[in-house]
Symmetry: C2
């Protein structure tokens, strides 16, 4: 297969345009974002309509010939670039020779919060990219129907978020830019209970739900708050109940990703019993 021409100048207009997507403002304006590295690019290419343009070094194109052929068959733009040019598009040293420009994937809240939704994960003011990405990945693993990031959360197309999802961003529907009250109201209207992960005085014990009248087999929207200050009183008010992961030892708390994993998997287990 004939390879496309090689872009060797970082001043190339296509490179300059793509590099702008490293900034949130430009991602927002264009509705596009960058994906780095073979694993993530493979997942992006597998999701139809996602990849717009592919930049790949000659070496990476030889190592992953399917990337170039998939791009060509899908009528995506595909450019061979020098390693130096690729660094203009990569936020890490882990791009391993390939970066894709993708269309934003987020969907409407009403399309995921429907009568079928069993398990939905809501991030309220989660700011750390690694946490957000980890939770998207685990929501995908636990078979959740969608992840919702409220408007004050981290940008889901931030390169660190994308990387931490390990491809799950292309598997599970994601909703962004909505207020928490909008989410909790629609969830309730669609028959889901809204549980806040929060260790306050009135919180149910995740491991002893029945004793306190909590039904973890029910359809559920889980809400997780900020990594530093947790859920605000105002946000807690919007939820039906709060639930705490029990602390059996001396730790003060769990980190957000771990706590979310225990909660979401406990719902997934109960819902399948």
């Amino acid at each position: 297969m004939k390879l496309p021409d090689v872009i060797s100048s970082p001043q190339s207009k296509r490179i300059k345009n793509a590099a702008k997507l490293l900034k949130r403002r430009d991602r927002k304006a264009t509705g596009q974002f960058l994906v780095e590295g073979p694993q993530a690019v493979r997942e992006a290419l597998a999701r139809k309509g996602s990849v717009v343009e592919l930049f790949i070094t000659e070496e990476a194109a030889e190592e992953h010939p399917s990337f170039v052929s998939t791009a060509k068959h899908g009528r995506m733009q595909c450019s061979i670039v020098t390693p130096e040019v690729l660094t203009e598009l990569a936020s890490t040293v882990n791009s391993q020779g390939v970066v894709a420009v993708c269309n934003a994937l987020d969907v409407e809240l009403t399309s995921v919060l429907d009568k079928e939704a069993q398990l939905v994960v809501v991030l309220a003011q989660v700011r750390d990219p690694g946490n957000a990405g980890t939770i998207i990945r685990l929501a995908d693993a636990a078979g959740a129907d969608a992840v919702v990031l409220t408007s004050s959360s981290v940008d889901v197309y931030n390169d660190k978020v994308v990387r931490s999802t390990a491809g799950s961003l292309f598997h599970i529907p994601v909703v962004t830019g909505v207020g928490l009250s909008e989410v909790t109201e629609l969830a309730r209207a669609r028959g889901l209970q809204v549980l806040a992960a929060d260790a306050n005085d009135e919180a149910h014990d995740l491991h002893h739900p029945w004793e306190t009248g909590l039904d973890l087999t029910a359809r559920t929207a889980w809400v997780f708050g900020n990594e530093a200050w947790g859920m605000s009183a105002e946000d807690l008010e919007l939820c039906d109940s709060s639930v705490a992961v029990p602390i059996y030892g001396s730790a003060e708390s769990l980190n957000l990703g771990t706590a979310a994993g225990v909660c979401i998997y406990e719902s997934a287990r109960n819902q399948r019993m």
Copy 2:
């Protein structure tokens, strides 16, 4: 209370000696390590015999007067340092004016793997400091009896590990520098089953243990492998069974910290039922 004299020179011998502990080699040679920031220092001071020396800025000493008084009552060395001097000892910008020199905390394997041990967490070749610290924190939260890091794992006194434990390093007994076979043999001799967290063909489903003859209520040593390549075939051989966190969606896997959280909490729940 009269404050100690102020060290204002980064060339001070005590500062130079303490700064050496930023290197693994010197930590190993001295059996000491550094702890940064008010939260971690508070936990270190609460564990008797742990803190050897305290370096604190005047501002931090005013904000946390108990640090200086605890150090004095405990006959620890305590020095007021200028913010510039403190940066020589701090690996991050988050020291918030206080760094403590602590004695290594690790204990003998035989002292934790005894007839009473219910739940022990073993890290086999875990290399990422953040993962190791997160798992120590969650083992503490789940009420585990100890954490064991095999000899090829990350140094538990690495500053990133210490920080990620969020104080739990001072709560839960930690064993380092032992071979995995030594751990699994002693665990078995003490009556614990040895479970490897690994998604291979013969793995039990964590959510359906009984169907495949797995008893999660039994006393257990959980073994977690490397973040990138998982458990080696050789290490798997040393365990009694392998157990996989079920993947209900499309993610290929969970990250190590999240998977460990789900496994450890599932044991803690079953053991308390």
